[in-house]
Symmetry: C2
Subunit: 1006 residues, 2 copies
């Protein structure tokens, strides 16, 4: 048995490692911080141009992570080891992996993964991109390239490595929990910290006085202001930290509403920004004492390739080597390259054979078969000045011709005169010699790389280039020749790198043709589809070993595929007891948090798929206590990896269990009063106020939606309880489970199943039950009306309260349930319940907003834009009716005789459209038979359709023959006023049939 | 050039050292603490019986140590390295010295001293004894045996070692200041911390909002209460720390009065006590998880000695080896042993030759020449029952005799009958064999050691013995035989230890006779007088090297002598600029803080010596920029030691300079209003209120003391300004300089010299000038009257407000200036200015108290007790008059003819003393010539003397012949009433002459 690690030995080893790598070793900060980032040795020192390398321990206090010392690896105080490398040394991931080795973590025996993490700390206007580093499924480190701090853009970028020491100790000792592991000197971690964990958890959750914490916050923030007014940055920063901690206490006590949270953050952010800016200024005034001679050194391209080349077509390979890309960015880069490469080759005029693109988290690859060794020669005809300006009548070249010829590198005698567009011009035939492909590519490749864009991108070195994650190498080979180029401070070569778990060994690629075999030999599956298929096969096989079936959701599968270069499935288990957790909690934890495939019994009840795509299952859980993780690499150390993952999942379930156990001590109903502590919005009161408004509106809506007796009772009860779960710990912890937890707890509290189901459905775009529908509508309408009235309508891209989604959540369910519903009436009713005035123009604005969303919904349902516009122009008050009308109209538009129908009807509309006056029809003035006929046929038809397109158009169809005859024979715009107005009047009546149905003039072909 | 140390290298080395010695290595605490002691890893863990060994870094925040980054080694944040060893490992000093070696500090090249430090933290009811460790004059470590924490007595005791890392870095690099030394990774300490020092200093001194800090304090303390109510000890402790920090901020802002300070401390102390008690309880409930099998091991006596012994008298040596004793305790132990040993030997009936006692900081030595090898045999005569009860008439022993004989181990036939007190008793002659000396000593020595008591003593190991500092060894040799005994867990032997700077090497003492040479060979001067003489000689010689003369004050000389076992003088210098500091500041720093001998020019102005022994010099400084330190050890590394001491002194002067520079930005007058912020006493108002009362009283006293015109002006101005210096930074920092600084700043503010001098004299027991006298009297009277009225008269040993001293300060100056002064009148006047009522009985109480002090003063001035009593019985209202009278009476008492005078006068007094009635003299009833003569002589004399003893006694002398004749011839107590009463009346008149002068009946021989 090997020597077990102790907590203090890990710290001493990391200190020694980073000290040996040139880091300053400093101490934890002297006031409670949520993370090492807040220590001025990070927060301040990453600002400005000076280099900085530091490492320190930081016990980090996060009140709402407290678990009373009951969770094996979650604590209100955890210990970070923080490293800052500024600027990026070029190999920070490799340094980091070295440090893990110094701790005794062999990457071959474990699964070490760099999992996308977009770090953001809005409270201090800071963000960066990087990863969580997972060791066998456990997050042990955060690795971030800081882009901004305190609102200041960082240049250079700093690399932040934050080790989670407790988790590392657990992993190193393969322990179930931290408590019995050695802290040092033979004393356990539990002895040092467990009782304190209990006490602090209790303090933060139960004892801390809310009013006093608020007062502390105010005092601290006033002191921060006072310090800033005097330019005292560190004291100001200290008080910002204290503000943060006071805020965290309030938050743990559940005393912060969403709106308040924003206000707190705004305040802290503003203070942090002032500190950061002040610090930048201060360092500038000090003339950057730490700034030494800049030592920019480009990363040299590795390997030697030939520099002469054959004149035969050859294979071309471009590999862009990167630090682990986020899964989404792998796909995005792939798509962009697939699209760009053919166009590029075309633009470059390079002939080529088959063209392939591959993407993995570590590399983006373009392969081109039989790429022409050079561009073909080419002749371009260039148009010059008019012939008479170019040559005199004697054919002597004038200055214009000479200038034109010179510019194009030809002789004036080679200019040709041609006719174009009725004039005569001189033309030059410009011959261009095709350039050699290497030359062309050397120019084009940097531009190609630059052209790849990502939703979020980052800088990392002084090239100031942005990319998804740092680029570390290029392989660029045409045959066996290296195509030389440099971009983002990296120079191309012929050396690739292998798998992470094998320490990314260098792989020399002798020639482009050997690339694929070299990569395959290195154990890398380049092809995404191949990886995906392998995963599916392995996952299915693993599930069948325990007589189960894996739940393979496409989104997860796709993500996992993009997290590995060599997938190996590892199946682990968890305790049967955990199965008593709500199924959605289990699945959510496995999928969202751990990217595991859950396993269920084969005889599973078919799960329903709701219109918003979420799998929704109200049946009792049929999950098995197993999960399947996909590891990057082969199966060496598989047991270690499995145990690690099992530990992590066990801890997460323990965490959920903790919440549920705590939560179910009260009935769901008993949580409701606590809603008064959650502010919905300062102008609109608490969530309890909102909840009561919803109750009123539900009463109003029940007759409209025509709920039956029991349904009404369920709806009222559900409305009463629907928001209560927001104050439970489980939902506080995993917000995505709101509603789901409400349903679960409702059942456990003895509520009727229908009530529970309605609560469970409230966040689904389209609730399944009527009761669910009515409470969801009331909730969404209340938000829309209240927040619009408070002046918080979405603007541009900003929609902080999710009102677009709320509006869709109003119209779409009404369509799907096909319920006629007067939006204007509902808006009026909700307006009456609001604590602030909802003016007429605001109500109008809300209705317009709803109509806009309705249009989007209908368009997205596949209806033609013109059809949707035509209907909505006449009817948008009832989404269901509009939808029916759109559906009908779309069918009509598809008819063979549609053009006739439309044309006929259109004539009636167009000729009357500009009349300011509506004319009466005087029967006595019907002079011609065609007009009389039309009038009589018209009179036989109904003229009101209640929005029914079919009814309306059937009438139109009946009128068409008469309309046709009418226009053939009758001059509408007769000189005689009486005749003219009578005829216009008749046509106005016909045109008017569409009112309240559809504005056919919006249709194509009108 | 050797590699310089960096701050982080020191930390890493200490961590490694203590980790290797079994310590847990933990982290700094997450909230601002004033010292590592406050970290729960000390504060809590030293409580209770469990063992605990820990080491950690603790950045310690002390707002009022901030110097804006301008002082070379004083900062608002300094970094401690804290070690706790619980229980005492037996050799903590040696471990500590090892750790210094690990840092590269060779004790042979430096002067490492353990200087008495009685650590006390009243805010948390904690105390302990130990030392400051000085490295070349610089305090680098605090070393404490904790005795109590949070009000809880500690068992076992913990050893606390607190390194000052900044100072160690300065010392290691022999640097002038910390700023340019390396923190680590090539970055300087200044770069990391200097700007922050400036900002925090500015924040704490200028910017922190007082009202907000008070509010924070209140909130924190309320939270601490809330936590305690729920048994949450660590959260409560956190808030106590925050309270402390808030208090420290207020204190740095000068917002805390003396009385408030007490209230703050009371509050914090109470909270700390509750936490400590709660923690004890908690650990008990947990059944002390860290408590392992107790491994008590007695320290074995070292060395092998003979165990048989000669029957000849031999030399005896007892050496008690200790960790460094405080200087005062060295003397105290010496005195106790000198007194005790002869008595002890007598009690033990051991004959002996010369007897010597020695004391150094490391050892207490008793040497006895020619100690008898055993007690002499002895016969005791023991008295038994009366003879007639012991034997019947036939001489047969009765049971009483048999029992008595048995008890005394003799035969009844050996009983003797003797007469005693008129009766006959049986006696037994009991023979007792003298016991061998080793046996006697083995019993007596532990009791001897135990009998040595100290003003402050401490426990350190599980023997629970108390001593000044831990006892670590005994040498106990009679000739070459070890006298075996054990006390305080230490067993006697024959191995001593050498000098500290030589690593205290073991010294085996073969026999008692060789002790002195062995000790001398080890370089130790046992004899205090020898050490003292050596110091004086070296100091004088050193001073003469720079043409100066050392100021050798006896108190300092005595102390320094007791700090070393081998004195070596080291002369160092300081910058000429520092000489511009007030002379008293310079001397105070050198003497009090550093135990240096200052050096002044030979041609110095003779300094005055005031009656309270303080050297007082108002002449311009004649100091030279030199000092002489006395090092323990030889002169190896003398340059290093000198440089170190110079650095320390330079830093201290820089500190003083900082204060003076800051202070003189305002005039002295401008400091006065700030006195309103210092509370004198809650019932008596602020120091400003007191200052104004003094002003009034000074006005009243001016005519009484008969100040001339200018003096009165000076006195009024001085009274106005006298307390202003209390609010300056220099006095806040060095309270002992109050008044001295007031004088200095008064001069710098342009006040007249007489005013400045008066201010400067106010704290001298006897001010030199009249102006100084009057303001001092007013100040002292005000304190006495106010505080007595507030119920704060001294009781028993308690005199927290120094009222005894104040009372002496009233009477002694009046005596020395010989000013008649009616104390009762002055008390009345002061009483009128007080904000609270001063009742008549309180005024009486004050006057009695003053009289009591007057008596002490006169006694201490060398007057006979009876003389003082005689005078004070008749006059105490005016101290000056009393003193004159005492002086006169003492002279009379010394006269040859005194017995005649006293006897004659006494007869008059004694015979009339018991008469209830005062009789009139009727001339007609004067019958005999002797009485007529006496009457006539008496009538020729004055009868009122205004307290003048000489005048009175001259009259008595004149009367004596007549008195003598009178008593020879006259029967005073004649049967005839008229005659009797007339004679008594005459004698009553004579006896009555003493009224208001002295009560001669108090005199010896009366």
């Amino acid at each position: 048995m090997t020597q077990k690690a102790s907590f203090q030995s890990i710290i001493l080893k990391l200190q020694n490692f980073w000290a040996a790598h040139g880091c300053l070793i400093t101490q934890p900060y002297y006031t409670q911080v949520g993370a090492g980032t807040m220590n001025p040795n990070t927060f301040l020192r990453v600002l400005g141009p000076e280099p900085w390398k530091v490492a320190y321990v930081e016990p980090s206090v996060r009140p709402d992570d407290g678990r009373y010392g009951e969770n094996p690896n979650r604590f209100q105080l955890h210990t970070q080891f923080q490293v800052i490398l500024k600027p990026d040394p070029g190999n920070p991931q490799e340094l980091y992996l070295e440090s893990l080795k110094a701790l005794g973590i062999d990457p071959r025996q474990h699964d070490i993964r760099f999992v996308e993490d977009n770090w953001e700390q809005p409270a201090i206007s800071a963000w960066g991109l990087g990863w969580e580093v997972w060791l066998d499924g456990q997050e042990i480190t955060q690795f971030t390239y800081f882009q901004q701090m305190g609102g200041v853009t960082l240049d250079p970028v700093s690399v932040e490595i934050t080790y989670g020491l407790e988790r590392i100790l657990i992993a190193l000792n393969n322990a179930k929990a931290i408590w019995n592991e050695e802290y040092g000197a033979g004393v356990t971690y539990g002895e040092i910290r467990r009782r304190e964990e209990f006490e602090h958890s209790k303090y933060y959750y139960e004892v801390a006085d809310i009013e006093r914490a608020r007062q502390m916050y105010d005092l601290f923030s006033a002191e921060a202001d006072a310090c800033l007014a005097q330019g005292l940055l560190v004291p100001a920063h200290d008080y910002i930290l204290k503000c943060n901690h006071a805020f965290n206490i309030l938050d743990a006590r559940g005393a912060i509403s969403i709106a308040e949270r924003q206000a707190f953050f705004r305040r802290i952010r503003e203070l942090a920004r002032r500190v950061a800016e002040g610090y930048e200024e201060q360092r500038k005034e000090l003339e950057y004492p730490l700034l030494k001679e800049s030592q920019t050194s480009k990363v040299k391209g590795q390997g030697e390739g030939r520099s002469t080349f054959d004149l035969r077509p050859a294979t071309f390979i471009l590999e862009i080597g990167v630090e682990e890309l986020p899964a989404g960015d792998v796909d995005s880069a792939y798509d962009q390259l697939r699209q760009r490469i053919p166009t590029l080759l075309n633009e470059l005029r390079l002939e080529h054979g088959e063209l392939r693109v591959f993407a993995t988290p570590r590399r983006l690859v373009v392969s081109i078969d039989s790429l022409s060794p050079n561009q073909p020669d080419r002749e371009d005809l260039v148009k010059g000045p008019p012939a008479d300006k170019a040559f005199d009548k004697a054919g002597i070249a004038l200055p214009a011709a000479m200038g034109f010829a010179k510019k194009n590198g030809v002789n004036t005698r080679d200019l040709e005169v041609r006719e174009e567009g009725g004039g005569k011009y001189v033309f030059a035939v410009v011959k261009q010699k095709g350039r050699p492909t290497p030359e062309v590519l050397a120019e084009a490749l940097p531009i190609l790389v630059e052209s790849i864009k990502f939703e979020k991108s980052m800088r990392w070195n002084d090239s100031a280039v942005s990319f998804s994650r740092p680029i570390r190498w290029y392989v660029a080979l045409l045959g066996d020749m290296i195509i030389p180029f440099e971009y983002a401070g990296v120079v191309s070569g012929n050396v690739s790198r292998g798998l992470r778990p094998y320490d990314s060994p260098e792989i020399k690629i002798p020639s482009a043709d050997q690339y694929f075999s070299a990569i395959r030999d290195a154990g890398i599956m380049l092809d995404k589809e191949e990886r995906k298929a392998s995963i599916v096969e392995q996952v299915k096989q693993a599930a069948s070993l325990v007589g189960g079936e894996a739940i393979i959701e496409e989104g997860l599968l796709n993500e996992v595929t993009n997290l590995v270069e060599t997938p190996t499935a590892i199946m682990g288990g968890f305790s049967d007891e955990s199965l008593s957790l709500p199924r959605d909690v289990l699945i959510s934890v496995m999928k969202k948090h751990q990217r595991y495939f859950p396993v269920e019994k084969k005889s599973k009840v078919e799960s329903q798929k709701s219109s918003d795509g979420a799998t929704f299952n109200l049946q009792p859980s049929t999950l098995l206590p197993h999960f399947i993780a996909i590891r990057n690499g082969d199966d060496i150390g598989a047991d270690t990896v499995r145990e690690g993952n099992e530990h992590v999942l066990g801890a997460r379930f323990a965490d959920a269990n903790f919440f549920v156990r705590e939560d179910v001590k009260l009935k769901l109903e008993e949580y409701r009063p606590q809603l008064s502590k959650l502010t919905f919005h300062t102008k609109l009161g608490s969530m309890l106020d909102k909840s009561e408004r919803i109750g009123k509106l539900v009463n109003d809506l029940i007759p409209i939606i025509r709920l039956e007796h029991d349904e009404a009772i369920f709806a009222r009860r559900a409305a009463y309880l629907m928001k209560a779960d927001l104050t439970t710990q489980m939902v506080t912890e995993m917000t995505s489970l709101q509603g789901v937890i409400g349903r679960e707890y409702a059942l456990r509290s003895g509520e009727q199943k229908d009530v529970a189901d309605a609560i469970g459905e409230q966040y689904r775009t389209v609730p399944r039950t009527k009761a669910g529908l009515v409470i969801a509508l009331a909730d969404r309408l209340d938000s829309l009306i209240g927040l619009f009235a408070a002046g918080l309508a979405p603007t541009g891209a900003k929609d902080p309260f999710g009102l677009r989604r709320a509006a869709i959540g109003v119209v779409q369910p009404l369509i799907e349930h096909d319920i006629d519903f007067d939006l204007a009436d509902a808006v009026r009713k909700s307006a009456k319940t609001q604590p602030i005035e909802v003016k007429q123009e605001v109500q109008k604005q809300i209705l317009d907003f709803l109509a806009g969303r309705l249009k989007v919904v209908l368009n997205e349902a596949g209806y033609r834009y013109d059809v949707v516009e035509a209907v909505l122009a006449e009817q948008s008050a009832s989404p269901a009716a509009s939808a029916r009308a759109v559906k009908q109209l779309q069918a009509w538009v598809g008819r063979q005789d549609w053009s006739t129908i439309l044309a006929g009807y259109a004539r009636c509309v167009r000729i009357t459209r500009d009349q300011k006056e509506t004319f009466k029809i005087k029967e006595k003035s019907l002079r011609e038979v065609e007009e009389t006929t039309l009038y009589e046929v018209f009179n036989l038809q109904p003229t009101s359709f209640h929005g029914d397109v079919d009814a309306f158009l059937k009438v139109v169809v009946k009128l068409i023959p008469s309309i046709t005859s009418f226009f053939e024979k009758i001059l509408v715009m007769a000189d005689e006023k009486e005749l003219r107005e009578n005829r216009l009047g008749l046509l106005q009546r016909i045109a008017g049939l569409a009112h309240g149905v559809a504005d056919l003039s919006k249709l194509e072909g009108f």
